[in-house]
Amino acid sequence: MDWQAFWLTIRLAVLVAAVLVAIGVPIAYWITYSRWRWKFLAEAVVALPIVIPPTVLGFYVLVALGPRSPLGRWWESLTGHTLAFTFEGLVIGSILYSLPFAVQPFAASFSSVDTKLIAASATLGASRVRTFFRVILPLSISGLVTGVALSFAHTMGEFGVVLMVGGNIPGVTRTVSIDIYDQVQVSNYAAANQTALVLVLIAFLVLSVVYALNRRIWATWPWK
């Protein structure tokens, strides 16, 4: 078992899940409450990573991060190196790849909050921000937990995007799933099996936590 790859993957998944809470919550809020007529286009863009092949996404991210794109040049002038084949580049690619897995559960739970509660909060003098933090967010905990867990687990197991954007640099961009691929390439089936099993176990654990937590939430708030 390549522990370096393992911890790198965990670090990546935690970072991506955290960033997705920070950017996914405002996006989900906007998708839920905006009355913009072209909103459906934004929803389609957010959902895109579910259906397009990871290699396609990875390819475009690679191009966008590369030294020939404005973003890549800007980053290079800032830090002195390009984003492609770095851990930071991996984080950006993974955020895009897991975006729908965070935003969709967030948006679903926001829209299930009774609009009467939001109206009541406003008539009691609460601003939109206060209403969000005191009413919408606490009533959406289960959706938040689901979104965080899914984006974490999804990032843990990604392959195509990582390979395209990060390559296979040990300690920098070599994640567990790439490690498995390498083991199989050299016919080291025992090691591949060991690592794959760990991934399956982690995925199972995360999903169990999600379902257990959701059940607890329903059980203590029976009137919902």
């Binding site: 009774d114 009467k116 509660l117 109206a119 009541a120 909060s121 406003a122 008539t123 009691l124 003098g125 609460a126 601003s127 206060r130 005191r134 009413v135 606490p138 009533l139 708030w221 029976p222 009137w223 919902k224």
Partner: protein
């Protein structure tokens, strides 16, 4: 002596001050709002004012009551109009003024209450007091919970208390913020009348010291008589009648009000004679030869009019009565008898079909059956006239 004069002057000033105070707190609204849903347009077009105290907003479902409240609270924006409480303008389409919901200080208790399920009763009541220092906040919420008799429930969640208790908490949560207008959208509809009247007593008591206009929406006519000093009747988006419950409901001048107020018999009629000396006139019911003596209204002989008679105001006799003061004795035949709870609704044909309500005992002592010959007895003043 000087003291006496001084005192009289102060009391006069106080009185004048109180009058000014009433005007300063009154709600004045002119609202035009078009709602289009699936092809059919609904237009709310209402102008009214409400002084401090309870004003009933009465109307069938779909009349626009909730839309009206939403506009007042700012949850919905009218196309045109002006809403003000005393001098304070909440909305004015011509001046481009539209105060945000959270700054209107309009209390709104929804039909389904909308208590926050994840907060305790106390946290619910303190929700609207975030701008108040913590110790004052808990002091005010405790006082309010006590005056609505739910202080013992303060650490419970809304899901763990009874329906009546939830209504009390919802009222307390809204009133603790000291709103300058209170909107109640049938919040007590689901309660038994005893619980309801106790809650209303507490609300009245609270408003004695606060004196704000309270708009109370209902479609229940018993509530109209029990509650209101003033009734506004809303039908198809328009205010079609206003006055005391007695004026509006007992003597409807509008057919929609008559239907809402439960007048079972409404007929088209023609004025055939006016007896100005006696203060009455004679009307012939359309499609029959029935002549009714009714109160005199300003209507030309020969003009069309509508007559509304409450089924409970009609007497039945199995023989031709003599020596009665009632001016309308009409022979007819019982068509059908239907028992509704403890009331029997008899349909009697006398040229037109009239619904008559009587007790079970009355039915039995008259031996009423379909086909029986009966006499209908209707007092002149039981006939309410409405313009067509």
């Amino acid at each position: 002596m000087a003291v006496e004069v001084e005192r009289a002057k102060t009391s006069r000033e106080e009185h004048r001050g109180a009058e000014r105070d009433v005007n300063r707190r009154a709600l004045a609204a002119r609202i035009r709002k078009i709602l289009s849903s699936s092809g059919s347009d609904f237009m709310l077009d209402a102008e009214f004012s409400a002084a401090p105290g309870i004003t009933i907003l009465f109307g069938a479902s779909g009349a626009g009551k909730t839309t009206l409240l939403d506009c007042l609270a700012g949850l919905s924006t009218p196309e045109a109009g002006k809403i003000s409480i005393g001098e304070r303008v909440l909305f004015d389409s011509s001046a481009g003024e539209n105060i945000a919901v959270c700054q209107r200080h309009v209390g709104y208790v929804f039909q389904d209450l909308a208590l926050f399920p994840h907060l305790s009763v106390e946290q619910n009541v303190e929700y609207g007091l975030s701008h108040v220092p913590a110790d004052e906040r808990s002091q005010r919420s405790r006082t309010m919970l006590e005056s609505f008799r739910v202080a013992h429930l303060r650490s419970r969640r809304p899901g763990e208390i009874s329906g009546g208790e939830r209504q009390r908490v919802a009222l307390a949560r809204t009133l603790v913020t000291d709103p300058c207008l209170l909107l109640l959208d049938e919040p007590l509809a689901a309660l038994d009348s005893q619980t309801k009247s106790k809650i209303l007593d507490d609300l009245r008591l609270w408003n004695q010291s606060h004196g704000i206009p309270i708009l109370y929406v209902t479609h229940n006519r018993e509530e109209v008589f029990a509650l209101g000093e003033l009734v506004l009747v809303l039908d198809a988006g328009k205010i079609i009648a206003q006055g005391t419950p007695h004026e509006v409901m007992r003597a409807p001048r509008h057919e929609a009000v008559a239907q809402l107020a439960g007048f079972e018999n409404i007929f088209d009629a023609l004025v055939t004679a006016a007896h100005e000396d006696r203060g009455t006139m004679t009307c012939e019911l359309a499609g029959s030869s029935v002549q009714l003596e009714t109160p005199l209204v300003r209507a030309e002989v020969g003009s069309a009019i509508r007559v509304a008679i409450s089924a409970g105001d009609i007497l039945l006799s199995s023989e031709q009565p003599v020596g009665l003061s009632a001016r309308n004795l009409i022979p007819g035949k019982v068509v059908s008898l239907r028992q509704r709870d403890v009331i029997v609704a008899a349909e009697v044909n006398c040229g037109v079909n009239m619904e008559v309500h009587l007790t079970l005992a009355a039915r039995d002592s008259l031996h009423l059956q379909p086909g029986c010959k009966v006499w209908l007895i209707i007092k002149t003043h039981s006939c309410h006239l409405m313009a067509c």
